[in-house]
Amino acid sequence: MLVSITIEDRNGQRQQIEVPDDMNLSLMEAMKAYEYNILATCGGMALCATCHVQVLEGKDQLSALSDAELDMLDTLPDAAANSRLACQLRIDKSLENAVFRICGQEHE
C-alpha cells in the first residue's frame, strides 16, 4: 500500500509524497529518496539528530518516542514538543496524511 505524506521544506514549500509501506523504510529514507536536503549522518541510528522534523499534523497517530530518540532530541537547540527524528518513524499507516516540516540546517 502507498502511504501519502506531506513534507514542508525549509522554505515552507509543501509537497505530497507517496511511499510504499511494505519496504520497511523510515521517513528519513523516504525523504532522502525524494532528494530532500537532510544530512542523516548516522544513517538512521538515532545518533546524530540531523534528520530532525516537526510534526505539523497527525502527531497523535504516530508511534511513541523511544528513550534514544528523546535523548537525541534533547541535544537540539530548536527541538519542540512536536519534534521527531525522521529516521525513527517507520512508514506505515500511522503516517497517512501526516505533515512534517524539515528542521535544522541545510547542508552544502
Partner: protein, 334 residues
C-alpha cells in the same frame, strides 16, 4: 611553524591510518583536527558502538579501533594539533604548502592530505538574535578552561550529557550557575541528572526547566540573558557567560574555499592515487567522491595506502620506490 612531509587535515580513522602508510615509506605526518580528540566520527558520534566490517576484527568498538590506530601510528611519531580548524592552505607544488588554522598555527609541508570526513564538527547554535555578536565576548560553545568561569555568573543551556556534566563541575567554581533546559526531565546519564536536581534542591545551582533562551543583551560583553518559559513569561538573568551546549554537527566548512573540485560536498579525486585537481593535494576517506565510492572505513584505509605510494613518488621523484610487505620488512620507526 611546524615542518613535516605530509600535513593531514582530519584525525579520523582514515587520517590516522595514513600516518602509518606514510611512515612505512619514511614520510612524516602532522595531523590537525578541529575536535579536541582524535577519532573523527567514531569518537564523536558512536564511540561505544560495535563495528563489524573491519577485516580481522569480527567485532570492535569504535573507540577501541581508534585507540588501536593511534597505537599503530605511534612508532612514526606524528605531530598533532587538536582543537583547531584548518582555515587556509597556501603555496604550491614547487615551493611546498603552508596549512594555517583558525588559531594561527602554521604547518609547512610538501604534501597535503585532506581526510576531513563529513567536514568540521561545529557546535549547533540556538537561534537567538545577535548571538554571533557576543561570540568570544561572553558566549562560547565549549568549556575549554573551567577556571575562566571562577567566581563568575554563568548560564548553561541544553539537556544532554555535556550540559549536565558542566553544570555539576562549574557549580563548584562559578559564583552562580544557571542551567536552562527546554524539557522538564533529563535523559542523560541518570546519575548526572540526579546530581543536577540535587544541586538545584540545595540551592547550589539555578535550574530553569521548560524554558528557552530568547534574547541576550550586553554592551561589548554579555550582560543579561532573557529566558522565556512555556507561558511566554520572560525572566531576565544577569550573566557574564552563556554556554549553549547542544552538541556538534558536521559542516563542510572552509574546505569548500580551497579551489578544489567539489561535487555534492565531496572532493573529486583520481582513483589511481586519490589525488585532487591540485597537484600535491590528496583527499581520502568520506570527504572524497568518485564513481562507485563507498563511505566505509575499509575503503578509506585502501585509499590511504594508494595515496602514500603516490605522495612518495611526488615528493621524491628521483628515488625508486620498491614495494615491500611489513611482514618481510617489519616497521622501522622514527
Amino acid at each position: 611553524m611546524h615542518t613535516t612531509d605530509i600535513c593531514v587535515i582530519g584525525a579520523g580513522p582514515v587520517g590516522l591510518f595514513s600516518v602509518f602508510e606514510a611512515g612505512l615509506l619514511k614520510m612524516r605526518c602532522h595531523l590537525i583536527d578541529v575536535l579536541p580528540q582524535a577519532g573523527g566520527q567514531l569518537s564523536e558520534i558512536y564511540p561505544q558502538k560495535p563495528i563489524y566490517d573491519i577485516p580481522g576484527y569480527p567485532e570492535v568498538k569504535a573507540q577501541e579501533l581508534i585507540d588501536n590506530l593511534m597505537k599503530q601510528a605511534a612508532p612514526f611519531n606524528p605531530g598533532f594539533t587538536l582543537g583547531e580548524r584548518v582555515e587556509k592552505i597556501t603555496g604550491d607544488t614547487a615551493e611546498g604548502f603552508t596549512v594555517v588554522t583558525n588559531e594561527g598555527t602554521a604547518v609547512s609541508c610538501k604534501v597535503i592530505v585532506i581526510a576531513g570526513g563529513l567536514g568540521c564538527f561545529e557546535p549547533r547554535k540556538p537561534v537567538i538574535e545577535r548571538l554571533a555578536d557576543f561570540e568570544g565576548k561572553g558566549v562560547s560553545y565549549i568549556v575549554k578552561d573551567p577556571e575562566l568561569f571562577r567566581d563568575k555568573e554563568i548560564i548553561l543551556a541544553g539537556g544532554g550529557d555535556s550540559a549536565l556534566d558542566w553544570t555539576i563541575l562549574l557549580s563548584g567554581i562559578a559564583a552562580k550557575v544557571t542551567l536552562v533546559h527546554r524539557g522538564e526531565t533529563f535523559r542523560g546519564a541518570p546519575d548526572s541528572a540526579e546530581k543536577v536536581f540535587q544541586l538545584a534542591t540545595n540551592g547550589r545551582i539555578n535550574l530553569v526547566l521548560k524554558s528557552n533562551i530568547s534574547r541576550i543583551e550586553g554592551n561589548g560583553h554579555l550582560k543579561e540573558v532573557h529566558i522565556t518559559d512555556e507561558k511566554n513569561e520572560v525572566n531576565i538573568i544577569s550573566a557574564d557567560y552563556l554556554v549553549p551546549l547542544f552538541g556538534l554537527s558536521p559542516k563542510l566548512g572552509p574546505i569548500a574555499d580551497w579551489g578544489l573540485q567539489i561535487e555534492k560536498s565531496a572532493i573529486t579525486v583520481q582513483t589511481t592515487d586519490y589525488s585532487t585537481n591540485i597537484p600535491g593535494i590528496y583527499a581520502i576517506g568520506d570527504i572524497n567522491t568518485y564513481p562507485g565510492k563507498l563511505k566505509l572505513i575499509l575503503c578509506g584505509f585502501h585509499e590511504a595506502a594508494m595515496m602514500a605510494q603516490s605522495a612518495f613518488r611526488y615528493v621524491y621523484p628521483d628515488q625508486r620506490l620498491s614495494f615491500k610487505y611489513t611482514t618481510v620488512n617489519g616497521i622501522h620507526s622514527f
